[in-house]
Symmetry: C2
Subunit: 224 residues, 2 copies
DNA sequence: TTAATATATTGATATATGTCAATATAATAT
DNA sequence: ATATTATATTGACATATATCAATATATTAA
């Protein structure tokens, strides 16, 4: 059954031995979420990593004048580890289910044990953290040094190319949340979507979005 | 001599054995820089980590409409490792000397070897990467969801509390660069410094800056 | 010392973008 | 079907902030 073998689909656990997998199995906890339910909250203590294996979720930053900044969307299978695991033992972003979703919690103690005992696993873990770091620098750069339109185009391309991996794609987040991904008000998001549509670059039909000219969208995204 | 024993002052290397330290010594390269010289550049291939042991430097992001975003300032002793080491083998930020500075280059191959062989070192390395991640999330949050004044106050507090660790402190970066730290134009930086001075919160005397009311500066920084 | 250049400072203006308000449409409940 | 609520859309306006321009001060060169 899928949930029983949750670790099989997560490449993070590929290099583990039978015993190590058994250890994980004995100590994991599965949790199921309804849409919009919070999985963990920024500032709360982090004790477990998560293997996210069903549904969709969003990672977001809270605080300041904005209600939130959406960092990225999550789909199966994703390994999510708190940034505070080696210092303050707190979460530094929040995670919330978008659709019905399931996550498997694994105690950080066990993860640290695996890191020390299994070199391949340690490497995979290091790769994930480094990838998060790269992602964060890119986000930092684009959110501070691009205009709204460029940021929105970037978000649309991210959704089509990386998250939904489809060209007409069905938005599973709201349009205001599309704004939160691009650091702008919901009104600006609506307005700019309309503008892109008027210019024939995209097609918006309710929640179905079609990118008609990805090349041009990339140009706009690049040159702000 | 200081340079010969460069690794002694960097806590990263604390847990290494004599043999491992000898390995580092045989494979390190020391490089000396003049003010404003680039140590490594964003997008360039990364092959070595750096132990920064003399002078001051700045980490900054390039690209977009801004000339740069200064992430943080570096002083001895700091271990600097590229975010691309586990994926694209590129640097994702640039590093530039502020004053005369010295850095010790160590091949990433050797670092990876130490990570696999020495568990304490692996843990220290993981802690550093995680700390960078936390720092990056905080920067992302404050640069996108605070007003200029709050961002400038944050930068001033960072300089006094974390970087210079002094209260009247002598700025070693320019005031335009103070703007680049807070994501604003140099004119805005000048203007707001003047404003803070008029309000009696700081004192600016050339490059000497005194924080007269840190409590209030923190408040402004928090509440934008 | 004087000229020349870079840095600092301030003011006026333009622009990006958010906020508020009005209305329209869609979804849901009664 | 009608009322009710949530979502979407657009317009008018306010404001944060950058840009441009003018001038002042400091620093360096001749």
């Amino acid at each position: 059954m899928y949930i029983e073998n949750w670790h099989c689909s997560n490449l993070v656990f590929k290099g583990l031995t039978k015993d190590e997998l058994a250890l994980l199995d004995q100590n994991k906890v599965d949790v199921h979420y309804q849409p919009d339910e919070i999985i963990f909250k920024q500032e709360s203590p982090c004790s477990h990593v998560i293997s996210f294996y069903e549904g969709q979720a969003m990672e977001y930053l809270e605080g300041g004048k904005n209600d939130k900044i959406i960092l990225r969307l999550i789909k199966p299978v994703e390994f999510i580890s708190g940034a505070g695991f080696y210092s303050d033992m707190k979460h530094h972003f929040s995670l919330k289910a978008i659709t019905r979703a399931s996550a498997c919690f694994i105690d950080m103690g066990i993860i640290k044990e695996l890191i020390s005992k299994n070199h391949a696993f340690a490497n995979t873990f290091l790769k994930i953290v480094h990838d998060n770091l790269i992602f964060s620098y890119q986000k930092l750069s684009s959110l501070t040094s691009k205009y709204q339109l460029g940021r929105l185009c970037e978000a649309l391309l991210y959704l089509s190319n990386d998250f939904y991996e489809a060209n007409p794609f069905e938005l599973t987040i709201s349009k205001p949340d599309l704004g939160a991904m691009s650091n702008m008000s919901k009104e600006s998001a609506y307005r700019l979507l309309h503008e892109l549509e008027k210019d024939g670059l995209i097609l918006v039909n309710g929640n179905l979005i079609t990118l008609l000219n990805s090349k041009r969208l990339e140009e706009i995204s690049r040159n702000s």
